[in-house]
Symmetry: C2
Subunit: 513 residues, 2 copies
Amino acid sequence: MAVARQQDVGYDYVSDQAAASQWLSSLTPTPLPPPLTVESINPKVIKCEYAVRGAIAIRAQVLQQQLIADPGSLPFDEVVQCNIGNPQGLNQKPITYFREVVSLCDHPDLLGKPQVHELFSADAIRRAHRIIDCLTGRSTGAYSDSQGVKACREDVAAGISARDGFPASPDDIFLTDGASPGVHMVMQLLLRSEKDGILCPIPQYPLYSASIALHGGTLVPYYLDEESQWGLEITELKQQLHTARSAGINVRALVVINPGNPTGQVLSEENQRRVLQFVRDEGLILLADEVYQENIYEAGKKFHSFKKVSRAMGIGEKDLALISYHSISKGYYGECGRRGGYMEVTGFSKEVREQMLKLASVNLCSNVSGQILMSLVMKPPKAGEESYENFIKERDGILSSLARRAKVLTEGMNKLEGVTCNKAEGAMYVFPRLRFPEKVLKVAAAAKVAPDLFYTQRLLEATGIVMVPGSGFRQVPGTWHVRCTILPSEDKLPGVISRLSTFHQKFMDEFRD
Amino acid sequence: MAVARQQDVGYDYVSDQAAASQWLSSLTPTPLPPPLTVESINPKVIKCEYAVRGAIAIRAQVLQQQLIADPGSLPFDEVVQCNIGNPQGLNQKPITYFREVVSLCDHPDLLGKPQVHELFSADAIRRAHRIIDCLTGRSTGAYSDSQGVKACREDVAAGISARDGFPASPDDIFLTDGASPGVHMVMQLLLRSEKDGILCPIPQYPLYSASIALHGGTLVPYYLDEESQWGLEITELKQQLHTARSAGINVRALVVINPGNPTGQVLSEENQRRVLQFVRDEGLILLADEVYQENIYEAGKKFHSFKKVSRAMGIGEKDLALISYHSISKGYYGECGRRGGYMEVTGFSKEVREQMLKLASVNLCSNVSGQILMSLVMKPPKAGEESYENFIKERDGILSSLARRAKVLTEGMNKLEGVTCNKAEGAMYVFPRLRFPEKVLKVAAAAKVAPDLFYTQRLLEATGIVMVPGSGFRQVPGTWHVRCTILPSEDKLPGVISRLSTFHQKFMDEFRD
C-alpha cells in the first residue's frame, strides 16, 4: 500500500487525500515557538512598572506626532509635557559656563585657535585646560577610571565639603550616568531574594519600586502624611519596619527622598536627626536621594544633607552606612539628557566597596562629558572669576522663576473643585489630591483603570496636558492624586492652568453625583 | 539586694564589681553588626568577575601613581595599558568631524557667532543644525525618547541599510550608553533562574560571563578552535547545546562575537550561514556582538552582519529573533569615554518589544551626546562634503596603522619561546597561547593564582606592561593565554615588544624545568 511505503521513499505513491495531508504535515517541521514571549520573559521585568514613562506618556507621543502630521485635528495646539522633570525639554536654557567648558573639552582643537578668546570666557578656557590635563589620554573619548575621572571626583568632593562644612573624599565618589544607575547598583548589591526589603516612602519616585521589582526584592512602604505637608513620621517608620520584620522580611535599607519627589516637602534638620537615630538604632543603610538639593522655594526652608546632619550629631563615618545620590538632571542646571550623577558612599567596609567598584567596572565607566558636568555643578564659578556674574544671574533667574511657578501652580490647583494641594517647598512637582464623585470611580472601574489614570487620560485627550496619575507613585489606598511638574515657562503656565481649570470643571460637571 | 534593684532604677546601688560590670554591659547596647558585609551581599554580585578591570588593572593604577610620586622608583618609566581596548587612552586622536558636530551641539550659541565658519567645517555646522532641530527642546540637555533621539535612530538605520543592502528601521534601534547596557538589558529579560542558559564562546569577552552571573543564569560554553584560527564549529555548538539541555538547562540564546574578542577571528559568510541555520533549527535567539565591524585587517576578510547574511538567505524578520550590538568605542573612532551604542532588535513580538522599551525607560535615556556620536559613526561625511577628504584620511590612517600593529605584534608574540599566536584578523587584540615550564605551574599553584595571572603579574612588575590573563576570558582547561591590545602607538610598539621579549626570556630561564 502506498501509505506504507512513505517511510521507504518519502514521496509519491500516495493514493488517498487524507493520508497525503498527514504525510505532508509530518514532513513540514512544526514551526518552533518564538524563542521569547511575554510568558517566557523574566517575570521580574513584567512586574516592574514605570509610570513616568508609561501609558500616558506613550499616548502623548502619538498625539504629538498627529499634531505635526495634521495640525488642526485635535482640540489643542501643543502637547505640554508636565509628566517628567525635564526642564530643557520645556525650553529652559543651559548654564552658559557649563556648556562652554563641555564644548571645549569635546573639541580641544579650539583651545589652540586665536578666536577661542572671542567665543569663550577666560575661566571656561582655564577650566577646560585643567580638566583635559587630567583625562586619560587627554581625551573625553578615553575610558576613565570606573569610579570616574579623579579630578572630577576631587571637584565633587570639594563641593560637598564646601556645602556641608565637613570633609568629603574623592575616593568615596562614584560618578554615574545620572542617579538611576547608582540606585540600581545598590539594589543589586542588597537584594538577594524577595525576603530582602527596602523601606520606601509612599508616594515615591517609581525608580525605587521599579528597581526593587527588577532585582527581586520587596518594597516595604512607609506613608508620608499628606495632612502635615507630607511629613515623615518616625512612628510610621517603626511600625512598618516592625510589620515587615514580623512577616520575615529582612529590611536592609531606608530610602529618603529629600526634597521629596513627587511630594515636594523639605525635611527639617530635627526630622533628619530622628531619621538618622532610627537607621542607627535599627542597623539600616540610609539611601538619601538628594537630587533636588538646589530646588528649595519656600522661605525659611533649607536643604541639609544627611551626611552633614549626621556628622553634626557626632555620628562618624564608621557608625553610619550612608549613600547620598545627586544628579546633573535637576537643580537650576537641568542637564537631564547629558546623564551625569554621583553617589557618595560612606560607612562601608573596604571589601564591600571593592564589590561596588567591580560592579561599576562591568559597565567600564560613566560618560566622561556627564562626569565633567557633574564636577562643574559641584564646583561652579567663584566670585571674582570672569563668568561669575553671568552664572549667578542665570542660576538665580531660573531658581526664582521656579519658585514663582511652584506658587502659581499650587494656587491654581487649590482653586479646583475637590482638589487640595500641599505647597511645593522644593523639587519640581505639585502632587495635589483629587476627590472624585462616585460616578468617576464607577466609570473608571468599568474601564478597568485607576480613577486618577482615567482623569489624566481625559485631561490629555482634551487639553494636551500630560500629567502622571498618583497611582504610578503609589498612594494611600482610596486616595487619588496627579503629579504635575512646575516646569512650563512663565508665559505658558497661566494658559496651562486655565486649560486645566476649564477641563476640570467640565469633568466634575459630567460626573457629578 | 542591689543587683535585684537594677530593674527598678537602672543605676547605683551596685556593691560588687562583677555584678557592676555585668550590669553596665547590659545597659550598653550591643553594637549592631554592619548593615552590609561581603557575606550579606547578593551572592550573584560576588560570583561576577570582570578581569579586564581586575586585580592586574588595579595594581597597574597603583604603580602609575607611584611613578608620578617617585619617578625613579620602578624598573620602568611608564605603565603601558595593553589590557583594555581604549584607543584614545593611548593617544589615538578623535575624528575631527565627529568632535566638531558634538561640540557645536553642546554649545549651540556658537552657531550664531560669525567666527564659527572660521573654526568649524561647513558640513559639521549643517549637521549640527539638523540635529539640534530634532532634539526635544532643541537641547542635548533634555531627556530624549527612551529608545533614543528619533533623528539619530534614523541615521543609524540608514547606515545599516547602506552597509547591508537590506532595509533597517529606526523603530528597531535602541540607542544605549555603549554596548554593555544593551547586553545587560537582554540578559535581564531572558534569565529567570540558573535553569536559563546562554551559549557563549570560550574564550569570551567577560561582559557576558559577568552579566549572566549578575542576572543569575548559566553560561553554556562553546569552545572556539584555536588550531583552526579560533574557528566556530557547528558540531561543537550542537554538542554543547545537547549537553546543557540534558542537564535541564533551558538554553535561550547564542552569543557570537564577530570579529572576535579576545580572539580576533573574522567569520566567513559560509560559517555565518551555518550558525544562522543552527539558531533557526534550535529556536534560539541570536545575540550578535558586532562592535568590531570596522576593525578588519586581514586581506580577503570582510565583515558581514548577521542580519545581512540572514536576509540574503531569505530568512525574514519573523523567522529570526536577532539582536545586533554596536558601539562608538571601537572601530577607527574609539570614542570609549563618550558611551554610545545601539542594539538593532528584529524578530520579536510587539509585546516583547514593549517590555524592552519599559526597561529602557527605567533609566530614562542614554546620554544624548553619545547618541549623536553613534549617528555620526553610522552616517559619516559623504563624498563631496567639505569634511570628506579629511575624514577619509583620518579614518584610513588609523585603520591602516592598526593593521600594521596587529601584524607586528603577532609576529613579535610568535618569536617568544613557547608562544603561538593566531593572526588578529580583526578587532583590537592578540590572544597568544603560552606554554609554561612545569615549575611555573607549581609556583603559581603555591601562590594560589592561575599561571597566566602569575605571568601577567610578573610582567607588570618588571616592565609596566599591562595584559589580561587568559583565565579572565576562560579558555580550554590546562591552556594558558594572555590578551594584549594592538593599541600602543607605532613609535612605542617596538619598545613594548622588546621589553616583553626580554622579560619573557628571563621568565622562561628562571623557571626552566
